[in-house]
């Protein structure tokens, strides 16, 4: 009797292992049956992903995940946010701990290939800058020779800083601390002369963490291209499509002037493009394997790209960042969606 139980248990265990391997295939189906998206975000970067005292997340990266949840489930709240440090983020995605990484992550060739990620597009065009104390009297990053610079490890920022220092023959001493809060504290306590990260991140830190924001200034140089966007694992193609086109729909919505408040009104439009986007003319939803209301739901949940931008990092936020590169292509920026058709 005992022997039979042991054999049965062993067989069950082996089946479970094999089943576990076979299941990993269709990501989108797995998410549908789970009924919730696991979205990897930062541990707290104002404007991109930050939780308030009630645990409610806000920011562009957060809104991207909400929009995808709205497109997939018709409910923007079916997202679980998983805060990840810069170090943890790729392992978390590779191991399937999160479905998508929406965490101010720069799209690079190395990450797109060797790390086994697929980036689904650019949600924010950024560039790396420097912040210094105003009393230091520095006007340009080139004057930073001999300076100590605070930087987070495991980021493109760390590599750009080394590249930039080498090519400009500037001697820089890095202080590298993993936790964002700790590195900011080190900078504000005077351990470093300068703090470097993406310009948007500097603005966020200056606005929300500096003891007195006016005591600190951003230097004019932008030393790198930092296209930030969501990423998924290699092999999750259908899932990647859904994220890619949900975001594109938000950009397209801004072009058409569809706002969150006007979605239902715009469904009556005669414009064939708007009719296709909002599912009045069916087809696009079927291509993605979701309801035809996908784009309408996403726009209702977070607004179009312009609304999302202004609310999180633009004029309606403490960051007060200009649209700059992130303006629509038709308005002097480079934000551009391939045709949603």
């Amino acid at each position: 009797m005992l022997r039979r139980t042991i054999i049965a248990a062993a067989a069950a265990t082996i089946t479970a292992f094999v089943a576990g391997q076979a299941m990993a295939g269709a990501k989108l189906d797995a998410i549908k049956s789970r009924g919730e998206i696991l979205c990897g975000v930062s541990t707290g970067l104002a404007g991109f992903s930050i939780a308030d005292s009630q645990g409610k997340w806000t920011g562009i990266d957060v809104d991207v995940c909400r929009a995808v949840a709205a497109a997939l489930f018709g409910d923007a709240n079916k997202v679980k946010f998983v805060p990840l440090s810069a170090q943890q983020r790729f392992t978390a995605l590779q191991s399937g701990e999160v479905d998508v990484l929406s965490r101010n992550t720069t799209w690079t060739q190395q990450r797109d290939t060797a790390l086994g990620l697929n980036f689904t597009g650019v949600t924010y065009y950024d560039g790396q800058g420097f912040m210094v104390a105003t009393k230091l009297g520095v006007k340009s990053a080139k004057e930073l020779n001999g300076a100590t610079v605070c930087v987070q490890p495991g980021t493109t920022t760390e590599l750009n800083l080394a590249d930039w220092a080498r090519s400009n023959k500037v001697d820089i001493k890095p202080v590298v601390i993993e936790k964002l809060e700790e590195i900011e504290q080190a900078f504000f306590s005077g351990r470093c002369d300068a703090y470097t990260t993406d310009a948007s991140g500097l603005a966020a830190t200056r606005a929300s963490k500096a003891p007195k924001p006016d005591d600190y200034m951003l230097l004019p140089e932008i030393i790198s291209k930092e296209p930030l966007g969501p990423a998924v694992s290699h092999g999750d193609d259908q899932w990647a499509d859904l994220i890619r086109w949900t975001f594109n729909a938000l950009v397209e919505a801004e072009e058409y002037g569809i706002t969150a408040a006007k979605v239902d009104e715009m469904k009556k439009s005669d414009n064939p493009g708007i009719k296709r986007l909002l599912g009045v003319t069916p087809g696009l939803g079927k291509n993605l394997g979701v309801s035809e209301e996908w784009a309408a739901n996403a726009i209702k949940a977070v607004g179009n790209y312009g609304e999302m931008y202004e609310r999180n990092v633009g004029k309606a936020s403490p960051l007060k960042l200009d649209r700059g590169l992130n303006a629509l292509w038709s308005k002097g920026g480079i934000m551009y969606s391939p045709p949603v058709r």
């Binding site: 292992f17 391997q21 990993a24 810069a86 170090q87 790729f90 392992t91 590779q94 190395q110 990450r111 290939t113 060797a114 790390l115 086994g116 230091l136 930073l144 020779n145 001999g146 300076a147 100590t148 490890p153 495991g154 980021t155 760390e158 590599l159 800083l161 080394a162 590249d163 220092a165 080498r166 820089i172 001493k173 890095p174 202080v175 590298v176 601390i177 993993e178 936790k179 700790e182 590195i183 504290q185 080190a186 306590s189 005077g190 351990r191 002369d193 694992s233 290699h234 092999g235």
Partner: protein, 394 residues
């Protein structure tokens, strides 16, 4: 089955499945096979998943250019060097903080351990409180406190406090060092020669004392040899001493050698924390020596410090050494908390490497291999020392 069977000369052979020897082997083979199968399954599954996601694997990245800078290095390093070189920098940083930490923690711990046994009430209480407070606060918290204290309460480089040519600021402690000179290599050789010679002098002195009872001033002779020989070379090559003095240039000091706040915070944190444990080990070791031993030593006319050195300590060490080994290993392993306060140890460097290359499994394997090597080396040394001082039964 009636009546008693006559005793047979050999017990009846049991069936193979009831034979304890065969059973023992069978179970061991099953368990061993199970462990191998589990290991094989883990590796195969990981490789398959990585291949499915097209994640790069292998150790080829070691020779690639690292591209990131390291703030605190013992050897020359630039972002143009390879990952392998960066990892070596990290290993040296770990060894530096661990070895200095071991020496300092042993000194501080021994003082506090003896202090707690002192007949001076105040001293004993202070040492007792030290142990109880320090060992009950998590090390990570203590590291944060030390780091914040150092960075928040030390002046900026332009207002640096100076003691002679030593400057203390939130950029670290900057002190002058002699500029490199060819004669320094010969001084190093003279130093080594001095150490080797004093070793032989000590052996000779011991043999002579055993044979004739005559004592020899071994300590003074050794100091003379170890310090005197390099000094002779120094004088002989015409005082080749030029100081490299730190100077404020722009943002920071240039010249001399700097010890960074991150290093200090980690070193102080590790030393203070581990010293609390070592103090208890030392106290236990001394208390373990029978009181009769010191009384007997006194009765033989040995002075207290001689009695301590020749009678009490050799016996206490037998109790002290094994747990001390664990504390030395703890210092080494706890130094991996360095990443929290930005000291570039092996974990910090390999974390960055893993992130840039995406090869988390290889990176973690390297970290484990490094700590295993260092820890086993310390263990081997301490076991050898333990055997050397162990009670030899005659």
């Amino acid at each position: 089955m009636d009546g008693i069977q006559p005793p047979s000369s050999t017990p009846p052979r049991a069936a193979p499945w009831n034979d304890p020897v065969i059973r023992g082997y069978a179970f061991q083979i099953v368990v061993f096979g199970g462990v191998i199968a589990l290991g094989w399954w883990l590796v195969a599954n990981t490789l398959e998943n990585m291949a499915r996601q097209n994640i790069a694997s292998g150790f080829g990245f070691i020779v690639q250019e690292s591209g990131f800078d390291i703030g605190d290095t013992l050897i020359d390093y630039s972002p143009a060097d390879s990952y392998g070189h960066a990892i070596w920098v990290g290993i040296l940083n770990t060894l530096r903080v661990a070895l200095i930490g071991i020496v300092l923690a042993t000194l501080l711990g021994t003082l506090i351990g003896i202090g707690r046994l002192s007949t001076n009430w105040l001293l004993a209480k202070i040492c007792g409180w030290y142990v109880e407070i320090i060992r009950n606060i998590p090390l990570l918290l203590q590291l944060f406190i030390w780091y914040k204290l150092i960075t928040l309460y030390s002046p900026g480089p332009r207002q640096a406090a100076s003691i002679g040519n030593v400057f203390i600021s939130n950029r670290g402690v900057q002190f002058p060092v002699p500029k490199a000179d060819p004669s320094h290599m010969w001084m190093g050789i003279a130093l080594l020669l001095g150490i080797v010679l004093s070793f032989f002098v000590a052996r000779w002195a011991k043999a002579r004392q055993a044979a004739t009872g005559q004592q020899f001033h071994t300590v003074w002779a050794s100091i003379g040899l170890i310090l005197g020989l390099p000094l002779l070379v120094f004088v002989g090559s015409g005082f080749p001493l030029v100081w490299d003095v730190p100077e404020l240039k722009g943002f920071n000091f240039a010249g001399g050698v700097v010890l960074l706040p991150e290093f200090f915070a980690l070193l102080i944190g590790l030393t203070v924390y581990t010293a609390a444990f070592i103090a208890e080990i030392v106290r236990a070791g001394i208390l373990a020596v029978n009181r009769g031993q010191s009384e007997a030593a006194a009765a033989l006319g040995l002075r207290p410090n001689t009695a301590m050195r020749l009678v009490i300590l050799p016996q206490a060490l037998r109790v002290i050494i094994p747990p001390m080994t664990s504390q030395y290993l703890n210092i080494t392993k706890n130094s991996s908390l360095a990443i929290a306060i930005g000291y570039p140890d092996i974990v910090a460097v390999l974390n960055t490497t893993m992130n840039q290359t995406g090869q988390a499994i290889e990176g973690t394997a390297l970290i484990m291999a490094c700590y295993l090597t260092v820890s086993l080396s310390i263990s081997l040394f301490m076991n050898w020392y333990n055997k050397k001082i162990a009670l030899v039964e005659r």
